[in-house]
């Protein structure tokens, strides 16, 4: 399903340290436009760190990350590359609690993209409809359920019209009955050709949308393979053990 062509993200031998702890060990990964990558692995394996390096929430210590041809570093060019390309959805939603849903959505477009208030509002309503909660526009985040909040967070990201969206365990903080409403939105999003990198343990979702499965353990990428192969015959023992554990029930 993935289009062949130039990678939009190239992660080349990237390492990341937190003090003396090495969170990423020479990891390399290529993602092409429209590709849906699901990253899984035990906690502390570096999955979140890896995707957080892509929009520089973490700065990698060694190696190179190239985003649409721009090498990420401390310069305006790479900040712009991130700005125009990458959106992110967080485990804890991270909505702005003092702003209404609509204001959460329009803040980025009006301030960072310099859109007019009217245009931003139109855009916001369009995406609120996409995530199926246009009627909550005037409410504050605390008045919404977790599932609704995460959908607002997805809409907020979409309002920046990114080419790539990073999902950092988007359903891990949700009550079980709310997980599906968020996954449905993500499946729909996958259908639009969005490039997606998802850190998640939702293997049903992974089977449905992933073009590529990535398994990480101890800061290393252990396995990269298409989902058919990944779920049927994983190469490494570590990956087999992990899948056995999470697919047991």
């Amino acid at each position: 399903m993935a289009e062949n062509g130039e990678p939009v993200i190239t992660i080349d031998n990237v390492s990341k340290f937190f003090g003396s702890f090495q969170a990423l060990k020479d990891t390399s990964l290529k993602v092409t436009a429209g590709e849906r990558v699901v990253i899984c692995g035990p906690s502390g394996s570096g999955k979140s760190t890896l995707i957080r390096c892509i929009n520089r929430l973490e700065k990698h210590d060694a190696g190179e990350i190239v985003l649409n041809g721009v090498v990420l570093g401390e310069n305006k060019e790479s900040i712009d590359a991130i700005r125009t390309n990458v959106g992110m959805v967080f485990q804890q939603f991270n909505l702005f609690p003092h702003l209404t849903v609509l204001e959460n959505l329009t803040l980025g477009p009006t301030r960072a993209r310099k859109m007019s208030a009217d245009a931003a509002k139109q855009l916001a309503m369009q995406f609120l409809e996409r995530v199926r909660i246009p009627d909550q526009a005037g409410k504050y985040p605390a008045q919404l359920s977790g599932g609704q909040q995460q959908r607002v967070a997805i809409a907020r990201t979409l309002c920046m019209e990114p080419k790539i969206i990073l999902f950092d365990e988007p359903t891990s903080a949700l009550d079980p009955e709310m997980i599906n409403e968020v996954l449905d939105v993500m499946v729909e999003l996958a259908g639009t050709g969005m490039t997606m990198l998802c850190v998640t343990h939702e293997m049903g979702f992974a089977r449905k949308v992933a073009d590529t499965m990535v398994f990480m353990d101890h800061g290393e990428i252990v396995e990269i393979s298409p989902p058919d192969k990944f779920f049927k015959e994983p190469e490494s023992q570590r990956c087999r053990d992990f899948l056995d554990q999470i697919l047991q029930h």
Binding site: H98, L107, G108, R113, A142, R156
Partner: protein
């Protein structure tokens, strides 16, 4: 609050019947009493103007000083620390005297009583404001910065639209405290001749020789002023918190 005030007033009025009190100096029904009362109240204007000007400046300076204190760069944090420690260590009265009598000699520029008072009060308070802002901003979850980063807000927009509105809500009680403190400390500016409440009372005491009654009125003036301010701050708190129910 109002009940307390009424009780205090009733107590004072009753005690006025005993021989030790001479309420006639501020008796609004007599001509001299009325003009004395007006004289005392006329200090209200400068007390308020002085305090409000000083608090606005100290909030602005405090915020500017707090920001480097939150930086990842040790040098900037150090600058913040030095400012706070130095300014916090000078007693307000000493600062008022130094700014009024000392600063003109350093700068060669004459400085009015009012601005000397404002500068000294604002400077002194700014160190405390800086610490309040630093604490408030630090209390905001890291995820808020990350979300702001992920929708490409720059530093100024992140502070202005995301962090400060939340931080200010949290520090509002502390800011209210500082305003009350400022109103009280403005009385110290009387020593360099600012015609605010305390100075007016001192002047009247010199001519009328009734310190007990006049200073009692002075106490009541500050009390009323501060109760009004407290009510205002509480109203503001309610208003700002009505939106998000966390």
């Amino acid at each position: 609050m109002v009940r307390v005030l009424v009780l205090v007033l009733a107590g004072l009025t009753l005690s006025g019947c005993s021989a030790n009190w001479g309420w006639y100096v501020v008796d609004p029904t007599s001509d001299t009493g009325w003009s004395n009362l007006k004289f005392l109240l006329s200090g209200m204007y400068y007390t308020i103007l002085l305090s409000v000007t000083a608090i606005l400046i100290s909030i602005a300076v405090g915020l500017l000083v707090a920001l480097p204190g939150l930086s990842e760069k040790p040098l900037l944090r150090r600058l913040n620390q030095i400012y706070v420690e130095l300014v916090r260590a000078v007693p307000i009265l000493v600062l008022i005297l130094w700014v009024y009598y000392g600063l003109p000699q350093v700068t060669g520029l004459g400085i009015g009583v009012f601005w000397a008072g404002v500068i000294a009060l604002a400077l002194s308070d700014s160190a405390f404001q800086a610490e309040i802002f630093r604490a408030g901003i630090q209390s905001i979850n890291r995820g808020q910065y990350e979300a702001a980063h992920s929708i490409s807000l720059n530093y100024v927009d992140t502070m202005r639209y995301v962090i400060l509105p939340q931080a200010i809500r949290r520090i509002l009680p502390a800011l209210g405290n500082q305003l009350v403190y400022m109103l009280k400390m403005s009385s110290l500016v009387s020593v360099i001749g600012m015609s605010e409440l305390t100075r007016k009372a001192n002047e009247l005491v010199v001519s009328e020789y009734r310190p007990l009654e006049i200073y009692t009125i002075l106490v009541l003036e500050y009390l009323v002023l501060i109760l009004i301010v407290s009510a205002g701050v509480r109203w503001l708190e309610r208003r700002l918190n009505s939106g998000d129910q966390r």
